[in-house]
C-alpha cells in the first residue's frame, strides 16, 4: 500500500540487488522491515546508471559482480514480498535490463512476485503512457519523476501518468549529495500538489535527521537511499538497520 496524501512522513529505503551480496540483501531487508521501514526500493543493478551518484554507481558495480540481475531481483522479490507483507516493495531499474527481459513479461513477473510499484529514471512519460492500461490491469504503479526544471504542462502530464506516488527529485544533479529545503523547494512542492492528489516521495539528498525533519509535513515519503547504502557498505547491514531504527524513532518523537 502506498501512503495517502497528508499522512505523516515515512521513509522509503533501498536495496541494490547483489550488494553487498544476494543473501545479505535478504537479511538487510528483514532488518529494514524490523526497523519499521514500510517502503523499500529493490534496485536492479545496471552497468551505466546515469542518474546515480558515486555511492550507487559503485554499489551497482559490486552488485553485478555478486550476481545482481533482473532475474535475481525477481527471485528475491518473490521471497521478501511474501515474508514482509507489511512492506510495499518498489522495483527500481534503468530501462535496458527490463527492456532486454521483455517489458510485458517483466511487468507480469514483477506483479506476480508482489511488487507494487516501479521507478525507472530513464523511461520518459511519452514511452510509459502506452503501457498504462497494462500496468493498471496488473496493479503495478509507475512512479514517475518530476524535477525542479520540469515545465508545468509536463508536470501535469507526468502527474496523470503516475500511480501510487510521484517521485519529486529535490534538486538538480544525481543521487548522493546534500539538498537545501528552503522556500524555493516548498514552492516547488506546492506547484506539484496543484496537479495531483498523489502522495509525494522526495528523493536525492535526504541524508540526515535534519533533512527528515525539514520534510515532515511537506511530503509523505522521504527516499533515504544513498546514505543507507553507505552505512551498509561501511558498517554492514546490521548496523545500518540499527541506525535506521533509531532514525525512525526520532522521527516519531518529532
Amino acid at each position: 500500500m502506498f501512503p495517502s496524501q497528508n499522512e505523516n512522513l515515512q521513509i522509503m529505503s533501498h536495496a541494490v540487488i547483489g550488494f553487498p551480496g544476494l543473501e545479505e540483501n535478504e537479511k538487510a531487508i528483514a532488518g529494514l522491515a524490523d526497523a519499521g521501514v514500510r517502503l523499500i526500493e529493490l534496485q536492479v543493478p545496471f552497468s551505466d546508471p546515469v542518474a546515480d551518484g558515486h555511492t550507487l554507481v559503485n554499489a551497482c558495480y559490486e552488485a553485478l559482480k555478486h550476481g545482481g540481475s533482473v532475474r535475481a531481483t525477481l527471485d528475491l522479490a518473490q521471497r521478501v514480498c511474501k515474508n514482509h507483507p507489511e512492506v510495499t516493495f518498489v522495483l527500481m531499474s534503468y530501462l535496458n535490463p527490463l527492456y532486454r527481459y521483455g517489458l510485458e513479461k517483466l511487468f507480469e513477473a514483477a506483479a506476480a512476485a508482489g511488487i507494487q510499484g516501479m521507478i525507472v529514471p530513464d523511461w520518459p512519460v511519452e514511452e510509459i503512457e502506452p503501457w498504462l492500461p497494462k500496468l493498471d490491469e496488473l496493479g503495478l504503479a509507475p512512479i514517475l519523476m518530476v524535477t525542479p526544471n520540469t515545465a508545468l504542462q509536463r508536470v501535469a502530464r507526468i502527474a496523470r501518468a503516475s500511480r501510487g506516488m510521484i517521485y519529486v527529485v529535490s534538486r538538480m544533479g544525481v543521487t548522493g549529495h546534500e539538498t537545501q529545503w528552503g522556500e524555493k523547494f516548498q514552492r516547488y512542492i506546492a506547484e506539484i500538489r496543484k496537479h495531483s492528489d498523489l502522495p509525494l516521495a522526495v528523493g536525492f539528498g535526504v541524508r540526515t535527521i535534519d533533512d527528515l525533519s525539514a520534510l515532515q509535513g511537506k511530503a509523505e515519503v522521504a527516499a533515504f537511499c544513498s546514505q543507507y547504502i553507505e552505512w551498509q557498505r561501511d558498517d554492514g547491514s546490521e548496523v545500518a538497520a540499527k541506525r535506521m531504527k533509531s532514525l525512525i524513532k526520532s522521527m516519531g518523537a518529532n
Binding site: 545496471f46 552497468s47 551505466d48 546508471p49 546515469v50 542518474a51 546515480d52 551518484g53 554507481v57 559503485n58 558495480y61 553485478l64 540481475s69 533482473v70 532475474r71 534503468y94 530501462l95 535496458n96 535490463p97 527490463l98 527492456y99 532486454r100 527481459y101 529514471p121 530513464d122 523511461w123 520518459p124 514511452e127 514517475l144 519523476m145 518530476v146 524535477t147 525542479p148 526544471n149 520540469t150 515545465a151 509536463r154 507526468i158 527529485v169 538538480m172 544533479g173 544525481v174
Partner: protein
Amino acid sequence: MIRSDNGYFGEFGGRFVPEILLPALTELEDLFFGLRDDPEFWQEYLTLTQEFSGRPTPLTPLRRLSKKLGGAQIWLKREDLNHSGAHKVNNVLGQGLLVQRMGKQRVIAETGAGQHGLATAIMAARLGLDATIYMGAEDIERQYSNVFWMRQLGSSVVGVTTGAQTLKEALDEALRDWAASVETTHYVLGTACGPAPFPELVSYFQSVISDEIKQQSMQQMGRLPDEIVACVGGGSNAMGAFGAFLENPEVTLVGVEAGGISLEDGQHSIRLSQDTGETGIAQGYKTLFLQNDDGQLGDTHSIAAGLDYVGVSPILAYLSQQGRVIPDSATDDEVTEAFSLLMKTEGIIPALESSHGLAGGFKRARQMKPEQNLVINLSGRGDKDIFTVARAFPQPEWTGFLQREAQRSSEILKQKGAH
C-alpha cells in the same frame, strides 16, 4: 541529409533520459530545427570552418598505393588536415555557434581518443567558455598527448575510473555532470549517438564532409565515386562521409568497425554485424549495443580509443538494417598493417581510428577494377597515437629516449619545487 521521425530512425533513436535533462534537449532541438534549413546559418558555419579549420579539406588520390594494390583508384578525404587533426572539430564548431545563441558559459564533453575533447577545448578557448572534458582513465593513458594539450588550452580533464574506464563511462559521467549543470552548461556530444537531437544534429554538421566529397569527385573523377568507406566509432565521421550520398543508391557505403583482437566478448567493438550488437536502450537512446542477456552493457576493445565504444549511431543502425550501409570490420593487426602501408607508400600518418577505414577500404579496392573509384574518409591524423604505435613497432631507441625524458622532466619538477 536524413531526417528523423520525431527523433527516431526506424526503431532506433529516441530520447531516453532522466527527466532533468529533458528541457535542455528540447531547447537544443528547437534551436536546431529553427536553424538547419536556414541557408544563412549554413553559410555562417561554412565560413567558420573555412577561416578556422582550413575547409574544404582536399580529396587526395593515392596513385602509388592504388597501383600497388592493383584494384580501384583510392582517394582519401583528408579530415586529418582539419585544425586539431580530426573531423571532430566540424561538429564542435557547429555546436559552438549554438552555444553562443543559447548564451551558455560552460561546456562539457566526453572523449575517447581525445580528439573530440581537444576540439572542444579549442572551441572553448576561442569563445572564452569554461570546459570540462570527461575521459576514461584508460584512454587518458592511451592518448596522453591530447590530454596534455586540452589542459594547456585551459580545459579541465576529469579521468573517469568506473567500469572499463573508456568512452562509455566518460559519456555516463558527462550525463551526470549535465544533470547538475544543465541550466548553465551545454553538453557538446561528440558523435552521432545519444538522445535526440544529437544523432541528427551531429550528422548535420558533419555532412559538410560528404558535400565536399561530392563536389570534389565531380571535379577530380568526373563522376561520383563507386564506394565510400569510413571507420565507425559512434558514427559521426561515417555519417559525415555518407550523408549527401544517401540519395545516390549507386554509391556503395561501407562502415568499418573495430574487430579488435577476436570476436570473443570484450575483445572487439563490432555492433552492426549480426550476432554481436543487440537492440537496447541506454545512454539516452535506442540502438544496437554490445550487451549480455541481462541487458548489462558489455566491455569493448580496440587498439583505437575512438572506436572502443559499446553503442553506435542509431542512424547507422537503421541504415545497416535497411542494407544501405554495409558493415565491415578490421582487426587490430590489420589496422597497424594498413597504417604502416599508407605511411610508407603515400607519406600520410593516419589516426588508428581512421586506419580501420584504410584496412577495410584497401581490402575492397583490391577486388575492384582500375576504372572504379573508392574514397576512404581519413577521419584524423596519427600524431596522437605515437605511444600506441611505438608499442606496436617497438624500438630500443624510443624506450631510451622516454627514460631520458622522464629523468629530465622529474629534475625540472624538483628544481621548481625547491624554489
